[in-house]
């Protein structure tokens, strides 16, 4: 069903499958679910075709997935993602974090693994940083992906004001602690202070 006006081989809204040639790449950009090969735009997902207008008034073809499906590639973390994770293990020079959710993605389907190295805990002064005084196992941290790391885990960083521990439980009382400065948290019940690299609370 050719729509001669826009040169599309498929009517907008009709179902496409991967590999379907949608149109030539001359006037149309490839959006989500499409790719360009040679001189044409092809679909790479199963769904209905959507045409939208991109910024510079060029048309963009994308594929809207069926009900209840997500793009599998949306679950992949990349550099710059802000993530929420839980500290699992502490070593002398790093903290292992289990990444649970990411900012643009929401809760992840599968748990990813990341580490915060000693030099990425905060800006400057790497030698003085003690991992044990920055995190404890069980803390919830807000961090940023800075590198794809090695084969097993991502590299994360908390070296910014708004990154760091956002929730920690006091060792003495078991209550959730309140941050009092960038490097300390206090239990509301026992008033005991513990050292953490805290995230700046949002106003």
């Amino acid at each position: 069903m050719a729509s001669t006006k826009s040169g599309l081989l498929f009517v907008e809204g009709s179902k496409v499958v991967p590999g379907d040639k949608i149109c030539t790449a001359k006037d149309v950009l490839a959006g989500k679910g499409c790719y360009i090969r040679g001189a044409s735009v092809y679909a790479s997902a199963v769904g209905s075709l959507k045409l939208s207008v991109a910024d510079d008034s060029k048309k963009e073809a994308s594929v809207m997935l069926e009900e209840g499906r997500q793009y599998a590639s949306s679950q992949v973390l990349s550099i710059g993602h802000m993530v929420l994770g839980k500290v699992i293990r502490l070593l002398n020079n790093m903290a292992t974090v289990e990444i649970v959710a990411a900012n643009e993605i929401g809760p992840l389907r599968e748990r990813n693994s990341g580490i915060i190295r000693k030099e990425d805990v905060r800006v400057g002064a790497t030698e003085e940083v003690q991992i044990y005084d920055s995190f404890r196992p069980g803390d919830i941290v807000y961090a940023k992906v800075i590198s794809l790391g090695d084969s097993r885990r991502y590299f994360l960083s908390t070296a910014e004001n708004e990154l760091g521990v956002i929730k920690a439980v006091s060792a003495s009382s078991g209550e959730v602690m309140i941050p009092i400065s960038w490097k300390e948290m206090q239990c509301p019940k026992t008033k005991a202070k513990e050292a953490r690299k805290c995230a700046k609370p949002k106003e």
Binding site: Y42, A45, Q75, S78, E110, L148
Partner: protein, 356 residues
Amino acid sequence: MPAANNTLSNCYIPLLSSGRSSSLKTKTDLDPSNPQSSTTSTCSPVSNTTFHAPLCPSHRPSGSLSSESRTARSIRHLCIDRHFLSNSTGSAIIELGHTKVICNVQGPRPLSSSSSTISSNAASDGSAIATGMLHCQIRFAPNFAINMQRNTMGQATPLDKLLSTTSSSSAGISAQETELSLKLHDALVPSLPMHLFMKNVVDVFVLVLQDDGAILPACLMAASLALADSGVEVYDLVSSFSIAVVSKDNTVWVNDQDENDDDESMNAQGEMEEEEERCGLSKVDDKYHLLADPDANEISRAEGILTIGMMSNWKEVVFWDQTGRLPPMVVSEAVELCKEGCVAMHNFMREALVRR
């Protein structure tokens, strides 16, 4: 086992050709005027799509075929369904005649969580980060395969005989399974944009419920459909087809007589020759029949088998598997036939995805 809301058609060990029940019309006619006698009733109408598949006939051996045998160019009864496993990202089931294959796709998953990928498809640490990975695994369901002997023969027998009886197919991974998994991996990799899931691995698990020939094409198509179904972006659907080359001296499928009796009388030979002349088959087919979509019987009698995997929209062959001894001319002709078959299969796969 996760819940499956689908019913398989025809799950039984097939009887010999003479005893086949009339309700199971697995042949598909090339003659368009013959309305499709469908077994759609055995497939649940809502979620299942049944296809009756004539190939574009370049030759059509007309003439005296017994009612049970198929024409040389016809595909078996094909049933495709998808997204029926509630627990997985994507799933597909393909029934090609009596060959039944289920595929289940998980992922993309982070590399660290699935330990099975560390040993297989070994890549250095550097390259594993830069692109995603694909992990394929084909397994034969232990008690469902049609031909159990074939299954268990491929395994190494342990020195202790007692062990082999209890843990025969369930524990061991036969060489055939490993080989098929590698082939599946090689065939699927070109169709996946690996740069879209870096540091992640896509797991493809295929379970063969019944094996009646054409295992690899069925697995390949099921895997491709399951990948498309799961939301993983793929460049194109991979369709696959296999052709068995049977030498004419060996074929008795034209006759109504018992298929297993190979040394037929000269009558058989004469009939077949007449037939070939009638159909105007090419020179190459002087000595060989090219049978499309062979079943297990035909495969065991074949001189050679050719399996092609193709991405039809890109018009690229991504997989070529050939066994046996075949003269080059026969191979070229078989490849052309395979490609036509792949295009036909692609149409059915596409319909299955769109219709659902």
